[in-house]
């Protein structure tokens, strides 16, 4: 039984934490939050690329460090903890994974090294409106290699160089790779609940689009990409939840009410115990997801769904109750509580909300049961 970080992985996490504590304090996160013109922390992005984090799961032959997905998850936990305002999830968990999963050798060779170097920000564009994706609801389409339609929200859509876009392709949807700097692409930055992360509306008018993966396999591929992304995202959420618990504890230990610290009241003690319990369950589910992702196990769909649901529940709860524990102070802009209150929702919705993941989980379990 070896269901925990190895010593090397622990050392990597420790280094990452030290680096982020120094280079990504919340004062830096707030620069992106406060300045509408700053869509991400470009310096930090450059630095983490140099450290090899962006290419952690990209094989060495394609310019990555080839560390692997477990190591990527270890880094993700630390990035989540620090509410890092960089396009990591979009570029690394989604875009790079999509290229590795479905790209041709030529596409891999052309794109992956740039990603690993931090020179290419990528996005995956699937949503076109409120509610879960449905094949019938998809209006973007590609005809004759040209893409037309609108996508929103697209995480990091304002700053990405390339996007992978789900679009109608004859009978059934396919995925397409689109150069967002090319002609026929316009972008509009969106107002969202979490301004520390970019989101955009992308409008395509006969933009050049190159098919990624097999024709007509778009929905299936997208689901597999989401499964893969859900795992490191769950680690980001666990990292965020753990940070909320620490913040709540630290505040409760020094805030006095009625002559004693509020941490001595059962209402607060049990609240923090509840956060702890949810966070540890989420961590355990995330570990299983990491194992399934790294080992290529057939259980990935259920493991990813469980990791995502558990982590979303934990981070949402931790962010809410951390703010609540801080009382009036927590409701000020100056307190960092709202950074997590925002990010927890951003991470919890980015590859789809809990309802669609619950449905996916039970659907997969039904299949397994029937087999």
């Amino acid at each position: 039984m070896n269901f925990d970080w190895s010593d090397d992985q622990k050392a990597l996490k420790g280094e990452a934490r030290r680096f982020l504590d120094e280079r990504c304090p919340t004062t830096r996160v707030r620069k992106v939050l406060d300045d509408a013109a700053t869509l991400y922390d470009a310096d930090l992005w450059k630095q983490v690329a140099e450290l090899g984090w962006v290419g952690a799961a990209i094989p060495e032959e394609h310019g990555g460090t080839g560390l692997g997905h477990i190591e990527l998850c270890a880094l993700a936990e630390e990035l989540g903890r620090s509410v890092a305002p960089i396009p990591f999830s979009s570029t690394v968990y989604l875009f790079a994974e999509a290229i590795m999963l479905a790209g041709s050798e030529a596409q891999k060779t052309a794109i992956l090294p740039k990603i690993a170097a931090g020179d290419l920000i990528g996005a995956v564009a699937s949503s076109e409106g409120p509610g879960g994706l449905t094949p019938g609801g998809l209006r973007c389409k590609v005809e004759g290699g040209r893409l037309t339609g609108e996508k929103l929200p697209v995480t990091d859509g304002s700053i990405a160089h390339h996007a992978i876009v789900l679009a109608q392709d004859g009978q059934r949807p396919s995925l397409f790779l689109v150069d967002l700097t090319g002609e026929g692409v316009s972008r509009e930055t969106l107002k969202t609940l979490d301004p520390t992360r970019d989101a955009a509306k992308l409008t395509f008018a006969n933009a050049l689009a190159e098919r990624l993966g097999e024709q007509g396999q778009g929905l299936d591929l997208l689901q597999r990409i989401f499964d893969r992304a859900a795992v490191p995202m769950a680690f980001e959420q666990v990292g965020g939840a753990e940070r909320c618990l620490e913040m709540a504890k630290d505040y409760a230990m020094q805030r006095y009410a009625f002559g004693r610290v509020i941490a001595s009241y059962q209402a607060i003690k049990h609240k923090l115990a509840d956060i702890y319990v949810k966070t540890e369950l989420a961590r355990s589910n995330a570990y299983y997801g990491a194992w399934a992702l790294a080992s290529g196990a057939a259980e990935l769909p259920t493991a990813a769904a469980a990791a995502r649901l558990s982590a979303t529940e934990a981070y949402d709860f931790a962010a809410k109750e951390n703010l609540q524990t801080h009382g009036g102070m927590g409701f000020t802009w100056d307190a960092d509580c709202h950074l997590h209150y925002r990010r927890s929702r951003q991470l919890g919705l980015m590859v789809g909300g809990p309802p669609v993941w619950r449905e996916r989980l039970i659907g997969e379990l039904e299949k397994r049961n029937a087999a």
Binding site: S126, S127, G129, P130, G131, G132, L133, T134, P135, G137, L152, P153, L190, K191, T192, L193, D194, A199, Q254, R255, Y256, A257, F258, G259, R260, V261, Y265, A267, I268, D316, K320, L323, Q324, G327, G328, M329, G330, F331, T332, W333, D334, A335, C337, H338, Y341, R345, Q346, G348, L349, M350, V351, G352, G353, P354, P355, V356, R358, E359
Partner: protein
Amino acid sequence: MDFNDSPEEAAFRDHARDWLKENAPKRDTARARRSADEIVEAKSWQAKKAQAGYACIPWPKATGGGGGTPMQKVIFDQEEAAYGLNFGIFEIGLGMCVPTVLAFGDDATKARFAGPAVRGDEVWCQLFSEPAAGSDVAASRTKAVLADDGSGDWIIDGQKVWTSGAHYSDFGILLVRTDPDVPKHKGLTMFWIDMHDPAVEVRPIHQASGGSEFNEVFFTGLRVKDSQRLGEVGKGWNVALVTLMNERLAVGGATGINWPELMAMAREIPGANGEGTALKDAGFREKLADWYVMAEGLKMTRARSMTALSRGQTPGPEASVGKVVSALQLQDMASEAMDRLDQFGIIDDPALAPLAGAFQQGYFWAAGLRIAGGTDEILKNIIAERVLGLPGDIRVDRDVAFKDQPRGA
């Protein structure tokens, strides 16, 4: 058991309805809340109501009030609501501050302030909470010392926080510490103050939500007359309790989203399994049902409280359940609605988000509502102690001089 007016109530309602039809101004509700224009409009409407006896209906006529009953006020409020004229700027003053002045001020003070407050000429705010005294208001540190010139005046220094309406208020009631050498509840005193005094500085608070509906208020050598004192020196806590008793009732229920809006949204977005709409999605239907039941329960609870008023009684303890239920419910509803919107749920641009972003705003508003006017935890303590009669939490601060109490940073 019915919802009918008594004959007297029905007659009052008819009169109120006729008067409103005749006198209610047209209001452009799209205009920004509490802008300068809004305040002018609110004051003018208040003056009109005061003249007709519809302002402060249950207050004695001598104060400028209507000399009516609490139930008549409820009825008038119901009828007025249809015109979108429920201006909030007088709520704290007329609901909490001026009643405190009337209860503890001397005759000259009462005569000076009651009329202008009822007519809306002067707006009041309440200055109790401090950065280190939130749930525990009696831990206030803002201090008042007697001026050393023998005038009997007091000099006030310190800071209050979460003050609604401080920037448009003319007066305020202020809780200060006059004796740090006695246990904390015993060293407090209440004053009324002039908010236009240059020694008073109002700064808006930048809230987690990005908005600024509340203020910090700083006092630097503010000089007040001893005649501005409300109640005895050292008895400020007893005065504050009278004010706070009204606050819990005034904060009221959650606003921002109601279940018909949720149902409308659910009709417009696809279900989680990709078929039909979320309204046909049994998972969401069950949640909608539970929220409806809770919202109806709160509505009918208010009807019970009004029945007590209508019968000339004080509303029972059931009135205390409102905010502790509705604030958390709003947070849950907002979160669940965002979940159902899926990726799109993160967008809070009113031009794009369903219901002009009500869910995203509600998610923040709820976080504040769970804290304002008593946190969830404090309200449950109040229900446990005052309604159910369970013992208070163990107090370690009862017999320790305030200056010797442990405190945070």
